[in-house]
C-alpha cells in the first residue's frame, strides 16, 4: 500500500499500519537494548550517588550524595589510575598510528605484487586472535623459559624476567598491540591510496620525482584526510584505548603502579571487593568524559576531514 493522503496525520498513521509487523518484531531488540544498555546507565547513575548494600539493592540503598566521588578524589589512588589510563591510551594510539601509515605506503609502493598479497594475508591474521591467545604467544617468546631467554642462556647471558619486571610492562603491552594490529591498521589507508589517480605517479616519475618526493607530494596528501580522520577519532579514545582485556592479562601486583587503569581497577576492586558504588562512580566519571570526547572528536572529524560517525 502506498500512503498518499495529503493530511500529514493520516499519512503517518497509514505508514505506521504499513510497518505494523516491523514494529512488532522490533519490540524484541528494543526491549533488549532498554534492559541491557539503558537500564545499566540508570543503575550507574543511581549507584554513584548511593551507598550500595546487598540488602538494600539498587533501589533500597541510601543516598549519600557526592560521598563516593569525594572518597575517590581524596584517595591518591585515583590520580594514579587516571595517569596510567591516559598514559597507556596515548601510547597505544600514537605508537599504532605511524607504523600503520608507513606500512600502508610501503605495501602500496611495493612493485613485487606477490610479496604484497602474501604480506597482507599474514599481517592481518593476528587482528583476529583473542587477547588470551596473543598473551600466550607473547609468553612463549618472552617468559623465563621463553625463546628469547633460551637464546640468552645459550650464549651465556643471564635470563631476564620480561613478563614480571614492571619496566618491561609498557613495552610488552604496546609492542604486542602493535604486533596484533599493525596490518589491520593499514586497511583504511590502503583503501584511500588506491583511490589516488595513478596518472599522478606516472607524471611525477616522468618529471624525475624520486620515491621520497612522490611520498611527500602525492601519497601523503592523498591519504591526509584519512589520517586526519583517524587522528581526530582517536581523540575520543584517549580513555578507552587502554584496553582492559589486554591489561588484565599482562599486568600483575608487582607492576600495578604503572599498569592499573580505570577498567582493571573497576574489575578488581569494584567487582572483586564488592565496592559497587565506588566502581559505578569511577565508570560514570569515565563514561561521561568519554562521551564528551567522542562528541568533540566527531565534531572535529566532520570539520577537518569532512567525515564522521554521524
Amino acid at each position: 500500500m502506498i500512503c498518499q493522503s495529503t493530511v500529514k496525520r493520516n499519512r503517518t498513521l497509514c505508514r505506521m499500519k504499513d510497518y505494523r509487523w516491523i514494529y512488532l518484531i522490533l519490540m524484541v531488540p528494543i526491549a533488549n537494548m532498554l534492559l541491557f544498555r539503558y537500564y545499566p546507565m540508570l543503575v550507574q547513575l543511581l549507584l554513584s550517588f548511593k551507598n550500595y548494600t546487598i540488602k538494600g539493592g539498587i533501589w533500597g540503598s541510601v543516598w549519600v550524595g557526592l560521598e563516593n566521588f569525594q572518597k575517590l578524589f581524596a584517595s591518591g589512588q585515583f590520580g594514579t589510575l587516571l595517569v596510567n589510563t591516559l598514559r597507556i591510551s596515548l601510547l597505544q594510539i600514537v605508537i599504532n598510528f605511524v607504523p600503520s601509515v608507513l606500512l600502508a605506503i610501503f605495501l602500496f609502493d611495493l612493485a613485487y605484487s606477490k610479496m604484497r598479497s602474501i604480506a597482507q594475508s599474514i599481517l592481518y591474521i593476528p587482528h583476529f586472535f583473542s587477547w588470551v591467545v596473543v598473551y600466550n604467544i607473547v609468553s612463549v617468546i618472552f617468559s623465563n623459559t621463553g625463546y628469547i631467554n633460551l637464546i640468552r642462556e645459550s650464549v651465556g647471558l643471564p635470563s631476564v624476567s620480561y613478563m614480571m619486571d614492571s619496566s618491561f610492562f609498557l613495552p610488552l603491552l604496546v609492542g604486542s598491540n602493535l604486533w596484533k594490529s599493525i596490518g589491520w591498521g593499514t586497511i583504511l589507508y590502503l583503501a584511500a591510496l588506491t583511490s589516488i589517480d595513478t596518472e599522478l605517479f606516472d607524471v611525477a616519475k616522468i618529471d624525475g620525482a624520486g620515491p621520497l618526493q612522490r611520498i611527500r607530494y602525492i601519497t601523503l596528501p592523498g591519504i591526509l584526510p584519512v589520517m586526519v580522520f583517524t587522528m581526530t577519532m582517536s581523540l575520543g579514545r584517549v580513555f578507552s584505548a587502554a584496553n582492559t582485556e589486554q591489561i588484565l592479562l599482562f599486568y600483575g601486583p608487582a607492576n600495578y603502579s604503572v599498569s592499573d587503569v580505570i577498567g582493571t581497577w573497576v574489575y578488581r576492586q569494584g567487582l572483586g571487593q564488592l565496592q559497587y558504588s565506588l566502581g559505578a562512580a569511577v565508570s560514570l566519571f569515565e563514561s561521561a568524559i568519554g562521551l564528551c570526547l567522542v562528541v568533540l572528536s566527531n565534531k572535529a572529524a566532520n570539520k577537518f576531514a569532512h567525515v564522521g560517525i554521524w
Binding site: 502506498i2 518484531i25 604486533w179 567522542v294
Partner: protein, 295 residues
C-alpha cells in the same frame, strides 16, 4: 620497466622492511605450533633452545581430548556460544539496521538516537553485572549471548549499507503489493549478502574470542568457554610461579608439559579463526570501510 638508482634502492628497502615484518609476525605463530608438537623429553634432550621438533608428537593434543574432559566441554561451549550468539546478534542487528534506514517509517529518528547513544555511552561493568544478575542470567549460558545482543556499531554499518541500496527495486516491489516485512526478507536481505556475511563473520569471531564477560558472569566450570579456560591456565601458572619461584624454575619437566599443553590449547583456540580467515579477508575491507566512513 627496469628499476634504476633511487627507485631500485627504494624497492629493495621496502621489500626488506615488509619481509622482516612478515617474519616478525609469522615466527611466533610457527613457534607456538612447534612447541605444541614437542615432547618434554625432546625439549630437554636438545637443550631447550629448538624450533622444529625432530620427533613431533600429538601427545599434548591427545591429553586435551582424553585426560581433561572439561576442555572438550569448554570447546563445545565456545562453539554453541558462537552459533547462538551470532544468530541472535545478527538477526537483531539486521532488523534494527533495516528499521533505522527506512525514511518513511514513523519513529525512525528517535530509534536511531537510541541506537547511536549506546555507542557513545555505556552503563559500565558493575551496573551491567547487577542488571544481568537481576534478570536471573547470572551463571547461565544466556549471560554470554543476550546482554551483548545489540551492537550499535554494526547497526550503523547496516544502516549505511541498506540506505545505499537502489530504491527503484523497492518501489517496484511496493507497487506489486509486497508488504514491509516481505520487503525485508525478499528484497533487502538477498541484496545484502555481502554485509550479512561480513557482519556475521565479525560477530562470530568476537564470540569465539570473548572471555571477559564469561569471567564476570560464569562460575560453573562446565559452562566456561575455551578462551576463559586458557586465561585461567595463565593465571594459575603465574600464581604457582610466584609461590615457589625457585622450585618451579627447576621443575622443568612439569613446566614443559604445561608448556606444550598451553600451546596446544592456544592452537586449538585459533583454528576456527584460521578456518574462516579466507572468508573474512574477502569481506573485511568492505565492512571496515562502510563502518568507518560516512558516505
Amino acid at each position: 620497466m627496469k628499476l634504476r638508482g633511487s627507485e631500485l634502492v627504494y624497492q629493495v628497502f621496502i621489500f626488506i622492511f615488509v619481509l622482516l615484518l612478515v617474519v616478525v609476525c609469522f615466527f611466533p605463530l610457527l613457534y607456538v605450533v612447534c612447541v605444541s608438537l614437542t615432547s618434554e623429553a625432546e625439549w630437554i634432550e636438545r637443550g631447550k633452545l629448538m624450533l622444529i621438533p625432530l620427533k613431533p608428537t600429538l601427545s599434548a593434543y591427545k591429553k586435551i581430548f582424553t585426560v581433561n574432559a572439561s576442555l572438550i566441554g569448554s570447546l563445545g561451549i565456545s562453539a554453541i556460544r558462537t552459533i547462538i550468539g551470532t544468530s541472535f546478534s545478527l538477526s537483531s542487528t539486521l532488523f534494527l539496521g533495516y528499521a533505522v534506514s527506512r525514511r518513511d517509517m514513523p519513529g525512525t529518528k528517535p530509534l536511531m538516537f537510541l541506537v547511536l547513544f549506546t555507542v557513545l555511552f555505556n552503563g559500565g561493568l558493575i551496573p551491567t553485572f547487577l542488571v544481568v544478575k537481576e534478570a536471573g542470567m547470572y551463571n547461565t549460558f544466556w549471560s554470554m549471548v543476550i546482554p551483548n545482543m545489540v551492537n550499535g556499531w554494526n547497526i550503523l554499518v547496516c544502516r549505511q549499507f541498506f540506505s545505499n541500496l537502489p530504491y527503484d527495486v523497492e518501489e517496484a516491489a511496493q507497487i506489486d503489493g509486497v508488504g514491509k516485512l516481505g520487503m525485508f526478507f525478499r528484497i533487502i536481505l538477498p541484496m545484502s549478502l555481502a554485509v550479512i556475511a561480513s557482519l556475521g563473520l565479525f560477530t562470530a569471531v568476537n564470540h569465539w574470542n570473548a572471555w571477559f564477560d564469561a569471567m564476570v558472569y560464569i562460575k560453573t566450570e562446565t559452562l566456561k568457554p575455551l578462551q576463559l579456560v586458557l586465561y585461567q591456565m595463565h593465571k594459575d601458572a603465574n600464581l604457582s610461579a610466584a609461590a615457589n619461584d625457585f622450585e618451579s624454575l627447576t621443575d622443568s619437566v612439569a613446566r614443559s608439559s604445561s608448556r606444550s599443553l598451553r600451546m596446544a590449547l592456544t592452537v586449538i583456540g585459533t583454528v576456527p579463526i584460521l578456518c574462516v580467515y579466507p572468508f573474512l579477508q574477502k569481506y573485511f575491507v568492505k565492512g571496515v570501510y562502510t563502518g568507518a566512513v560516512k558516505g
